[in-house]
C-alpha cells in the first residue's frame, strides 16, 4: 500500500512570500492531519480534517495559515505571508478513523526554510 505523499520535500522562501504544501493521504483514509515540527520539538497539530470538513483548527494561525481538503482526498496547506518563525517541517498524516488513538501514518514532511 502506498504511503502518505507530500510535496515538495524542501522549500526555501524569503519572509513575506507565500508558500503551499500538498498532501495525498493513504487511499481510503478519511481523516487527515497537518502538523508543524520545529527543530528539536515534537510535532504540533495545526489542523484535522474528517473527509472534507474541519474537525479541529484551534492551533492554526488563521491570520496567515489556511488549509483545504477538496473532495475529501488531497489537501493543501498555505502560508501567506511567511515569517521567519514558520521555518519548520510540515508533516501530513492520515488515518482511516476519526479516533486519535488510531494509528496515524505520516508522510516524509516538507522542510520549509524562511530567510
Amino acid at each position: 500500500e502506498a504511503g502518505v505523499a507530500q510535496s515538495p520535500r524542501y522549500k526555501i522562501i524569503e519572509k513575506r512570500q507565500s508558500v503551499a504544501f500538498w498532501c495525498n493521504p493513504i487511499s481510503g483514509h478519511a481523516t487527515l492531519y497537518w502538523y508543524q515540527q520545529i527543530l528539536g520539538q515534537g510535532p504540533k497539530l495545526l489542523i484535522q480534517f474528517q473527509n472534507n470538513g474541519v474537525v479541529d483548527d484551534s492551533q492554526l494561525p488563521k491570520d496567515r495559515f489556511s488549509a483545504e481538503r477538496l473532495k475529501g482526498v488531497d489537501s493543501t496547506l498555505k502560508i501567506q505571508p511567511a515569517k521567519l518563525e514558520d521555518s519548520a517541517v510540515y508533516l501530513c498524516a492520515s488515518t482511516n478513523r476519526a479516533a486519535f488513538t488510531d494509528t496515524q501514518y505520516f508522510g516524509p514532511g516538507t522542510r520549509l526554510t524562511v530567510l
Binding site: G40, L91, A98, A99, F100, T101, F106, P108, R111
Partner: protein, 110 residues
C-alpha cells in the same frame, strides 16, 4: 489533556535492552498510551499502543503498571538502526488531539 514526561536523551550499546519510561500522572480512565518512533528526515511511525498491563509486538513491548501513571517502552537488543526519537503520547478516542512532547532521543553506539 494528560501531560507526559520522558527523559530527553538516552545512550545504549548495540545488543542491549533499552527501557524508556514515560510519566503520565493525570492519565484519564479512557486514555490509551501510544508510542511513536521518528528517524531524521522522516515522519513519526507508530510503534505500539496499550491500555494496561503488557503489550508486545514484533518491534517492542509496552509495560503499564496497575495505576497507569507511567509506562515503559522496552526495545530488545537494540541496533544502530534504532537510533531515533521516541515519543510517548496519551489520549483517547474522539476529537481531543494527541499531543507530542519533545520525546526521548535514543542514541545506539556500536
Amino acid at each position: 489533556l494528560a501531560k507526559t514526561t520522558q527523559p530527553i536523551s538516552m545512550d545504549s550499546y548495540e545488543g542491549q535492552e533499552v527501557n524508556i519510561t514515560c510519566s503520565h500522572n493525570n492519565i484519564a480512565t479512557n486514555d490509551y498510551i501510544t508510542w511513536y518512533q521518528q528517524f531524521p528526515s522522516q515522519g513519526p511511525r507508530f510503534i505500539i499502543q496499550g491500555y494496561k498491563t503488557k503489550v508486545t509486538n514484533e518491534v517492542a513491548s509496552l509495560f503499564i503498571p496497575a495505576d497507569r501513571k507511567s509506562s515503559t517502552l522496552s526495545l530488545p537488543r537494540v541496533s544502530l538502526s534504532d537510533t531515533a526519537v521516541y515519543y510517548c503520547l496519551v489520549g483517547t478516542s474522539g476529537n481531543t488531539p494527541l499531543v507530542f512532547g519533545k520525546g526521548t532521543r535514543l542514541s545506539v553506539i556500536a
